[in-house]
Symmetry: C2
Subunit: 143 residues, 2 copies
């Protein structure tokens, strides 16, 4: 459905939200072990999140990743757009080039309903809301 990169990024952001503060940043080592994600691959993903400004990092001893002003309020949808591009929801599931409400493919309505539901959920939920759920033990970030 979505790329692995998206799942890795989202879970990492929530993990860092729950485990970082001014003193203790979260290193790649801890992240990749805690979430069972390949170390170096995760490195690139995190780089990209930092580059997009929704997370901060610092090098050197006691360095690592930590939340900034934007992190908690970042909608899940923003993360998807960073990792998978804005196209994900725009393209026709049957691969028809110009498919829209006035010139629909035979599955257009069904897909649109599903898509809108996902868009709704992903734009309302943020890193903060997910972190709160996980903190309350209602949901989980890893096996």
């Amino acid at each position: 459905m979505f790329s692995k990169t998206f799942g890795y990024a989202l879970r990492s952001l929530v993990y860092i939200s729950l485990n970082s503060n001014e003193e203790a940043r979260v290193g790649l080592e801890q992240l990749s072990k805690g979430l069972d994600i390949p170390h170096h691959f995760l490195g690139k993903i995190m780089q990209n999140l930092v580059k997009h400004g929704i997370l901060d990092s610092i090098k050197g001893p006691n360095g690592g990743f930590y939340v900034n002003a934007k992190t908690a309020e970042t909608p899940v949808l923003d993360i998807l757009i960073i990792t998978d591009g804005s196209l994900v929801f725009d393209q026709c599931a049957l691969g028809i080039k110009r498919c829209n409400a006035t010139h629909p493919c035979p599955m257009h309505e069904d897909f649109a309903t599903c898509r809108n539901g996902m868009l709704q959920a992903m734009s309302h939920k943020t890193v903060r809301t997910l972190a709160e759920e996980v903190k309350a033990g209602k949901s989980f970030l890893a096996l």
Copy 2:
């Protein structure tokens, strides 16, 4: 969302439903031009549909693809399973290995709602219902 193969297969089945009868089969040439799908790639996809028995074909002059007893009643979901495998709907969107109602990822509920809606639509709609829509001019198979 789904593979291109799935879209190609579904559109081809509907196209053949609308354009074949005992006399006139639909050849790859016509299919690939009519639906703007790469000729040889489509060949393999069609082979697979024939192998799965939801479509028939015959070689030689005036050969081509044509509907059989199963074609019209094939649910869209069956086509998806043939082209993309049954896993598509089973895996967690965040990539967590064991993610289910009792051990959910933070987005589990939202994804489940979307997935169930799609499953519902895809198991109820068949090649026949889609073909009827297209025949009535309510929806389209190509740009």
